[in-house]
């Protein structure tokens, strides 16, 4: 899923400036699964904004909706209609959703309430971790199913570097060494011999470096 977490309230308030009528829009998609932008989080943010404005002695009028998803135009139309009576839309969607709304919100300012961080998985209660950088040329077949681009802090294709110690990466905060995970996987799947083949420099043109990607399926047009 796409991982995201709420921006610090102080930032949201400063971005809102003195906008009086704010429409909060949640999303039932990934941001609900990682407890960042679902209905509960919208309701909570409504209360926090009201309290904040009350503390600052400024009025605020808040509308709230939670859409099925904000990354499909069809789900936006009704909300955009209602948004006309507001000064600004504060979207709790991931970065993609916020932008699709912004592209269609005409003169209305659209602000993100979340920081989108990664494509990832839920690792345990209250903890999610990044798994994929969307490089467009999946390396997993070569590394036992563990991604060197994402899980290694230096995206080494021929790791580990000299800083790997006791299974952890040199950058600390408990980050596991990507290549330790890869080597363990290769070993357990009986493919450790693959380790000594040198992986050629990657072709990054399919990744973000090649410019914003577009996925076109002629067969579905």
């Amino acid at each position: 899923m796409i991982l995201a977490e709420r921006k610090p309230i102080a930032d949201i308030l400063s971005h809102l400036g003195d906008a009086r009528r704010v429409l909060l829009v949640g999303c039932h998609g990934c941001v609900t699964v990682c407890s960042a932008g679902g209905q509960k989080e919208v309701d909570l943010l409504v209360d926090v904004l009201q309290l904040a404005r009350k503390a600052q002695g400024q009025a605020i009028e808040i509308g709230k909706m939670t859409l099925e998803r904000q990354c499909d135009v069809e789900f936006l139309s009704e909300m955009l209609e209602q948004a006309k009576q507001f000064d600004v839309i504060l979207s709790l969607a991931c970065g993609a959703g916020v932008q699709l709304v912004a592209e269609r919100a005409g003169s209305l300012r659209v602000l993100p309430a979340l920081n989108t961080t990664a494509i990832g998985v839920s690792e345990q209660k209250g903890q999610w971790g990044e798994r994929c950088q969307a490089c467009g040329d999946c390396k997993l077949p070569l590394t036992g199913g563990i991604c060197p681009v994402t899980r290694c802090s230096k995206s080494l294709l021929n790791g580990p570097c000299g800083g790997s110690s006791k299974g952890l990466c040199e950058i600390g905060n408990g980050t596991p060494c990507g290549w330790q995970l890869i080597i363990d996987r290769l070993e357990v799947t009986g493919c450790l011999d693959q380790y000594e083949t040198i992986l050629e420099p990657a072709d990054w043109s399919s990744a973000r470096d090649g410019g914003p990607r577009k996925l076109v399926r002629e067969d579905l047009k």
Binding site: L13, K40, V48
Partner: protein
């Protein structure tokens, strides 16, 4: 063992219940409804009637046995030594096996709203929630109605069958009423039902008799109290919110730890928006420690009285 046989073995024990009613004051469910069938004594009498044939098993009767917050205060208070929770457990098994599909106070999931994010499955301290055939299912024998899953759900798809005054909407209704009716109202004290709360059983004051500054509300496990209820309390005009929970070591549901983590996050948010974080406080009060409960409340009230009301504008 035939289903009824499972209860048969408790007949001797049920005789031990002398129906003295000393368990009434301990049961949050009875105190909320005040119908005697909702008290531990009432439920034991029902089981007795089941064994003697004077009461037919029915959804209504089965549901009574599933309406319990497992706080175990009745069993602890029963000097006749009736192992009430063990009797209940067998009775629940009997009802489920006999096909009575009742929910009582166990947690239920609205499958249309549910985003299948499984956060509630991970949250459940009793492993009572699981994902089966595309749906979240509650094991009603394991569920202890502690409500840990209540707040974690981003879709607000999780609900406790019947709250007896402890569900979020019920709490918010009591809070709203308290602030509209009492000019002197200042704060809400949320207490979990294991942690001590004042002995008021069922009496309440006539309006002019007392104009209390605080209202104590029971949330069953403090881990079930959701952040929004606390914020809405401040929005209602509360000067502060105090949460009394059990010491973490005593909490059977891991609720104390969660309550502290959740309120800690809220305090940071308050700080960010210029409101003094001391307006939300969590403190541990072990079960039965009435003295500590009132001392804690008093200290809290002194502190927020200095802070004054959440005035409009200016440093809070």
């Amino acid at each position: 063992m035939t289903q009824l046989a499972k209860l048969e073995k408790w007949k001797g024990t049920l005789n031990k219940c002398i129906r003295c009613g000393y368990c009434y004051e301990h049961c949050q469910i009875y105190k909320s409804s005040r119908w005697e069938i909702d008290s531990p004594r009432g439920k034991l009498i029902l089981l007795y009637g089941l064994l003697s044939g004077e009461v037919e098993p029915s959804d209504y009767v089965a549901n009574k046995l599933f309406e319990c917050f497992h706080c175990n205060r009745c069993q602890k208070a029963c000097s006749s030594g009736v192992p009430i929770q063990d009797v209940y457990a067998d009775a629940r098994e009997f009802f489920l096996e006999s096909g009575f599909d009742v929910v009582g106070t166990t947690s239920q999931t609205d499958h249309d709203l549910c985003a299948r994010c499984l956060n509630c499955v991970r949250m459940c301290p009793h492993e009572a929630r699981s994902f089966v055939d595309g749906k979240i299912v509650t094991d009603r024998l394991k569920c202890q109605s502690c409500g840990s899953c209540l707040d974690i759900c981003s879709e607000k798809a999780v609900a406790i069958g019947r709250g007896f005054g402890t569900n979020p909407d019920e709490l918010q209704r009591s809070i709203k009423l308290f602030f509209t009716q009492n000019s002197n109202a200042k704060a809400i004290v949320f207490s979990c039902s294991w942690s001590t709360f004042p002995g008021f059983q069922t009496a309440n004051f006539d309006e002019q008799e007392a104009d209390p500054e605080t209202l104590t509300l029971v949330t069953v496990c403090s881990g079930r109290l959701n952040s929004q209820t606390v914020l809405e309390t401040l929005l209602q005009g509360a000067w502060g919110v105090l949460i009394c929970c059990c010491p973490e070591s005593d909490c059977a549901h891991g609720g104390s730890g969660r309550a502290k983590a959740r309120m800690n996050a809220l305090q940071k948010t308050l700080e960010e928006i210029g409101i003094d974080p001391r307006r939300i406080q969590v403190s541990e009060v072990a079960q039965g420690n009435t003295k500590l409960f009132s001392e804690t409340t008093k200290k809290f009230m002194d502190e927020i009285s200095d802070l004054g009301a959440l005035s409009i504008g200016g440093k809070q």
